[in-house]
């Protein structure tokens, strides 16, 4: 029953639109002001042609994983519930409720699944993500 995890960039559905091909690999991209993110309400963001799920934690730390649900094959992860397991922040798929560790992207309910994670930093209260 398990699908293998697919990197969204290599998934057939993740057609990129707005990114320009000439960007250097792994640059920092501004996403939005920190204040536009409500703590524990995930949002989707379009960064360098990739769809990410961006989560602001109560500590004001921001984390980003792929928006693409590798099991359901649909761009929905940002619409899942942010929670915790044993104190580690998690994100649950809104479709079939697999639970992912937000720090590592590892699925905690199905070892074969994983979300790609993206480094995030906040500078001058602007959220920036490093992506290709």
């Amino acid at each position: 029953m398990t699908l293998t995890a697919t990197h969204p960039a290599s998934a057939p559905h993740a057609v990129t639109g707005t990114a320009t091909a000439s960007e250097p690999p792994a640059a920092w991209h501004p996403v939005c002001p920190l204040d536009r993110l409500e703590p524990l309400w995930a949002e989707a963001a379009l960064v360098a042609g990739e769809q990410l799920a961006v989560v602001r934690l109560p500590s004001d730390e921001v984390v980003a994983v792929s928006h693409w649900d590798p099991y359901a094959n649909a761009p929905v992860m940002a619409r899942g519930i942010v929670g915790s397991r044993q104190g580690r922040p998690t994100l649950t798929s809104p479709l079939h409720k697999q639970v992912y560790d937000l720090a590592t992207g590892q699925c905690l309910t199905d070892p074969a699944l994983r979300l790609v994670t993206f480094p995030v930093r906040v500078r001058d209260r602007i959220v920036e993500v490093r992506a290709a």
Binding site: A14, A72, S84, R85, P94
Partner: protein, 842 residues
């Protein structure tokens, strides 16, 4: 003005003071004696309120902090309540009292419940200090902080003098108002009355982590010119200072007539009698064993003792229960019994994790068996279960009860019958067991029967444990913990939130979570939607406001149903399936313009599939403008009321089933429940609406309506069973109100009505008793929930569209402009999986 003469047959009990102690006394007197008249005088301009919950007023200026349920005892003809009326003198010899407006009253018995005043340190400038004791105090603080913030254009700099329970609570309140707070405390650690050094220092650290500034080990010497001065010569610039340095008993009425304790207060004996005959004292103003206690539980116990004595009983006050829990967001701190291990030979069993900010300690007797007290900082999980064990032998090794120490669950505590579970309402484990055996199968009933958990609510986890063990003993299967984040079940959480009137998930975690720390315990997809549903039922507020947005399950979050490709379906409400051609045309146009797949559902309405998140608001704009409202196909709530053609058209019909179905749908729409609910109404016994396959099925008879409950379709179909026969319209609605709300209060997560009745001890017979005979005495409460719901119901989509802040939840990307909100827009970004075609589409 003079007070009306009293009928000689009725004894008059005069009560001075209107705090929680007085309230409890009056309640207890009314419950026991018919031949009493009670005259209560309080200086505050309002009836007694729940002072313990005062901090709620910082968050919500309209919260009047009601005590007990309903209007309370003040409408009772035996009671006269005089607010804004201070008693200035008492004369025990003449058995009379005098009030500030010069009137006098004779009494047979006098109860002094005058409470305390907030103490102000005797320093120059003390007149400018604020205090934190009454609703008026909080309202004044709110006003001053707001005024300062506007005038200064920055957060006001405030200080709280005193780092005890009240000081920290005041600091939390000021923070909630947007002020910066420094806590000034004379000892090296806060809460030194409850916490030992290690616990106190752990709490110091937790407070600093939360952004509080602590200034410890120094007493201020003056407040002058916007500076709080210290003996060292240093100063702290302040815009506002709150003193929380302790309380002083209001014993001025006793001067010269009653014996006053060494630290103030009216001296009482174990019957709560003062030194003058027929004069009693209760609450914080009473000095017992040389001490006055600033806690509500002993105040309530004293009130019960005096009520008992006045009605001829022989109750005695057993001494102070000093258990206390700090009510401060994000900080879990509690202590009970001899937390400082002052008893001779007492042993301390400690778990400490300084980096994790957890400190837990149990104090046990020399032989390590009897529990003498405990201190919890950072994680007070075991507090609720252990507090009733005070003074008793622990069934296992003490260390095993510290949640942080072991990996497994703590050993189960079999509380002896006499152990007090609820100290606010003095309910013992035995009281709870008797109520369960007497037919209370759930927390809602238990609260009604015994009063457990109806004041501060902190005992509910322990009460649920006792109840469940008893049910198991009776051979009933019980459901338990929701998930790792709460030890309560859904029904337990419902009752806990109902008691405490909490309004946010953060507060619920802080009060009942495991751990009770909202920085670590973020909940999960199990408990968050449960909390969302409970909050929606209890408060009826727009479900996505505040921190409630992030609690909602997949569909509620978007007020639409998520489909497998990431798009949504839209279902407008069509009550009873009755629709005009004009409205049908609007649905058709919307479907055509947005390219939506349409399907007529099994619930007599139309589903429009394939809308993107961003298309939902414009689609609903058109639907709302045409008079539609949300069908809540996404919610755990009433879905629809199915009906047959009924007597208007059908030649067999005996009642107008369509009209009744519309009435039901408009009554219960939007009421959040543990699972979805479906209703049906048939116009005669032929049952074309298949009403007996519904949670609530109504079938017409020539006399009125038969009410069936507990049916469902799905994987395990169940036929609804008869609850009551031949009801008129109004009785039918009343019974359905009771049934539905009893279900909402007591069912477990995702339990439909059929399963719920199956698992409920007593099954349908018990439900019948509750709904028809009102055997638990909660029918009026249950009906009030529906009445309130009818008051607060708003169509969720209309409410969304009128508020730009709410619309932000429907953006596809946080960082890119709307790209798909237009009908048939060409996407370069894939927003959904492969399109799902319409069969037979050309």
């Amino acid at each position: 003005m003079t007070v009306r003469p009293i009928r000689p047959t009725n004894r008059t009990v005069a009560v001075v003071g209107g705090g929680p102690a007085a309230h409890r006394l009056v309640e207890a007197l009314l419950a026991r004696g018919d031949d009493l008249r009670v005259s209560l005088f309080t200086e505050e301009p309002r009836a007694p309120y729940d002072r313990v919950a005062l901090s709620r007023r910082f968050l919500d200026a309209t919260d009047d902090l009601p005590l007990g349920s309903g209007s309370g005892p003040w409408d009772d003809p035996r009671v006269s309540l005089r607010t804004g009326c201070r008693v200035t003198a008492i004369d025990p010899a003449a058995r009379s009292l005098t009030t500030a407006d010069g009137s006098t009253l004779g009494w047979d018995d006098l109860v002094l419940a005058t409470g305390s005043d907030a103490a102000r340190p005797a320093i120059p400038g003390a007149g400018d200090l604020e205090v934190y004791r009454t609703i008026d105090d909080v309202d004044r603080l709110r006003g001053r902080v707001a005024e300062l913030a506007t005038r200064l254009g920055r957060p006001p700099q405030t200080a709280v003098i005193g780092g005890g329970l009240l000081g920290l609570e005041a600091a939390g309140g000021l923070r909630a108002l947007g002020a910066d707070v420094t806590v000034v405390h004379s000892r090296p650690w806060v809460m030194n009355a409850q916490l030992d050094e290690f616990g106190g220092r752990t709490l110091n650290r937790l407070l600093r982590d939360q952004g509080y500034v602590l200034r410890l080990g120094e007493r201020p010497s003056a407040l002058e010119g916007g500076w709080l001065r210290f003996p060292s010569g240093e100063g702290l610039p302040v815009d506002l200072v709150v003193a929380a340095t302790g309380i002083t008993a209001r014993d001025e009425l006793g001067a010269g007539v009653l014996q006053i304790g060494p630290r103030g207060g009216f001296v009482i004996d174990e019957t709560c009698a003062t030194s003058a005959p027929h004069v009693w004292a209760i609450g914080e103003a009473a000095s017992f064993g040389g001490e006055c206690m600033g806690l509500v539980a002993p105040a309530n116990t004293m009130a019960e003792v005096v009520a008992d004595r006045l009605c001829g009983g022989s109750g005695t006050f057993p001494g102070f229960d000093t258990a206390a829990k700090l009510k401060l967001a994000g900080l879990d701190v509690a202590s009970f019994g001899d937390g400082l291990a002052s008893a001779r030979g007492a042993l301390e069993v400690v778990y400490a994790d300084p980096t994790g900010g957890v400190y837990q300690k149990l104090v046990v007797s020399e032989d390590a068996r009897t529990l003498l007290g405990g201190v919890f900082v950072g994680d007070a999980g075991p507090y609720a279960a252990l507090r009733p064990m005070l003074g008793r032998e622990l069934p296992g090794e003490a260390g095993a009860f510290l949640s942080a120490a072991g990996n497994g669950a703590p050993p189960d505590l079999a509380l002896p019958d006499e152990a007090q579970v609820c100290s606010c309402r003095d309910v013992s484990a035995g009281d709870l067991r008797r109520a369960v055996c007497g037919g209370c199968p759930d927390l809602a009933g238990l609260k009604a029967c015994t009063g457990v958990g109806t004041q501060c609510g902190s005992c509910l986890p322990a009460a649920q444990k006792v109840m469940e063990r008893q049910l198991v003993e009776l051979g009933v299967e019980v459901s338990t913990a929701l998930c790792e984040h709460f030890a309560l079940s859904r029904s337990g959480l419902f009752e806990a939130v109902r008691s405490t009137r909490l309004t946010t998930f953060g507060e619920i975690v802080t009060r009942f979570g495991t751990p009770a720390d909202s920085a670590v315990n973020l909940g999960c997809d199990i408990c968050k939607p449960v909390a969302a549903s409970v909050l929606a039922t209890l408060h009826g507020e727009y479900i996505l406001d505040g921190d409630r947005g992030g609690l909602q399950d997949t569909n509620d979050r978007a007020l639409a149903n998520l489909q497998k490709d990431g798009t949504y379906s839209v279902v407008p409400r069509i009550p009873a399936g009755e629709i005009t051609p004009e409205k049908l045309a609007v649905i058709a146009e919307v479907a055509r313009d947005y390219g939506l797949y349409t399907k007529i559902t099994g619930a007599q309405r139309i589903d429009l599939f394939g809308a993107t998140l961003e298309q939902l608001p414009p689609i609903w704009r058109r639907l709302v403008d045409a008079g539609f409202e949300s069908g809540q196909a996404y919610g755990k709530a009433l879905r629809n009321v199915k009906s047959c053609a009924g007597s208007t058209w059908c030649r067999y019909g005996v009642q107008d089933s369509v009209a009744m179905a519309v009435r039901l749908e408009e009554r219960y729409r939007g009421l959040r429940s543990p699972h979805k609910m479906k209703f049906g109404v048939s116009g005669c016994a032929r049952e074309c609406a298949e009403a007996r396959g519904k949670d609530v099925g109504v079938i017409a008879t020539s006399e009125g309506w038969n009410l069936y409950v507990g049916g469902n379709g799905g994987a395990t179909p169940a036929h609804a069973v008869l609850l009551a026969k031949d009801l008129d319209d109004e009785t039918l609605l009343r019974y359905i109100d009771r049934y539905v709300v009893y279900y909402i209060r007591t069912a477990e997560r995702l339990q439909r009505t059929a399963r719920w009745m199956e698992e409920l001890p007593g099954g349908i017979d018990h439900v019948q008793d509750v709904v028809v005979q009102d055997s638990l005495g909660i029918a009026a409460d249950l009906e009030r929930v529906v009445a309130d719901h009818l008051q607060t119901y708003r169509d969720e989509w209309a409410a969304t569209l009128e508020d730009p802040e709410r619309l932000r939840r429907f953006r596809t990307f946080v960082n890119a402009p709307a790209r798909s909100a237009e009908p048939a827009g060409a996407d370069s970004v894939v927003l959904s999986g492969p399109r799902i075609p319409v069969r037979g589409e050309r």
